[in-house]
Amino acid sequence: MQGPLIESLARQGVSRRTFLKYCATLASMMALPPAAGLAMAEAMAAARRPSVIWLPFQECTGCTESITRSHSPTLEGMIFDMISLDYQETLMAAAGHQAEEALHAAMKANHGKYLLIVDGSIPLGQDGAYSCIGGRSNLEILKEAAQGAAAIIAVGTCAAYGGIPKARPNPTGAVSVSDIVKDKPIVNIPGCPPVPVVMTGVLAHYLTFGSLPDLDDKGRPRAFFGETIHDRCYRRPFYDQGKFAKTFDDKGARRGWCLFELGCKGPVTHNACATAKWNGGTSWPVESGHGCLGCSEPDFWDAGDFYKALSVPAHPPTSVVAASVVGATAGAAAGFANRAKKNAARKARQPITVADLEK
């Protein structure tokens, strides 16, 4: 295992064994076979550093914070030694015309080969005037940069699905990267912010295999988004036993019971928080006693109250299935009955107030 990367790491005091260990863990998190760790290390060490252009649009820089300030700076920071980050407004020393020149030089020199990372949504309202860089709209910049890109990585829920800027009433007309670019491979790494290891994992996959990882129907890498938070949650046995915390400070909450009734969106959220955790493996939202907000799913901000339980069917749906086997009429009747129950439930529903939460 030799190459420019290893030498560069050695200069920073990162040993070969540290790198091998990192690759073994990364391969494990990506659900690759154990032998892949060594193969990954060898390929990454020898890889030519691909040019990466990172464009920030309508965003809060939280995604950049997540990746650059992850708890173990040497580990996640290492990935930045494996790429040639030619343009990143927040991190680069250059500003103004020099920065724009660097962007265009990188785009020209690596045309058709560079990776384009985008964080933030793209506003279309007022001809894109809501977010401009150097007097040009985000839309214009994205279209230009996407043309010469080998692939695009949409980092964060805003770039992947529109995120908070797109939340109702969407004053700026925000859209996602995939709403605009249709002719390039796009990997979505949603999350508000995304888990750092997911991002480095996608880059490591690209460096190792020269291709993008397997994606699900929402454009997310299956290795990290294949299962829901609920599937991998350590509180799952309590859900199965029907033990729920009813308020944030009752007996159930203190015993670490399931947060479903407090509005946890874990059952419908695909992300790696439950396994990768946050802050260097210290904890993650559910372990800290708060339900999942579902931040890696499209339109999570408008998906209903964060503190309201996900709806559960009043009667098992099997009755409807059985009815439809008997006949369409019976099925329709069951459907009608269910709708009536749903309306009644909606009328009886009492909104949760701040006072309720403080009870």
Binding site: M1, Q2, I6, V14, S15, R16, R17, T18, L20, K21, Y22, A24, T25, S28, M29, A31, P33, P34, A35, L38, H71, S72, T74, L75, R232, C233, Y234, R235, R236, P237, F238, D240, R254, R255, G256, K277, G280, G281, T282, E287, G289
Partner: protein, 143 residues
Amino acid sequence: MTLDVIPIHVVPRHTGAALPGEPGLSGNAPPLLRELAEQVRHLLETGEPSAIDLSALPLTPADLDWLREKLGSGEIAVTLQAGGESTLDETACAGVWWVTHRNEQGAVASQFIEVAFVPELVKAHPADVAIGRERLEFMVSDL
């Protein structure tokens, strides 16, 4: 204040399918012994190492304890300080190593059972040995 003050009880994920009389065991650990036997046979015949990624399998802490106890401990225990502590312990079955990688905060980052004469991570790389030689030559020239 330490974290222990916060009364969160971490419970294993798979408690449902416990073996009768043995709480916390999922029944997923015993088949791994067969897989290890096959991997050791492969090592003896071809010299090729292999590994089982424990974090990728549905194993409870009790399963891991059971497995660790069954495999026992051998003569060698390697501690590696590289981006956090790693331990590579030979089990009572020579050639079977229990490998735990921890991060700088001390949390377990990944865990494997490796089947090899010597785990790859323990060997010194020729390039690193060359650096060591330079260092020695420098010391000798300084005498």
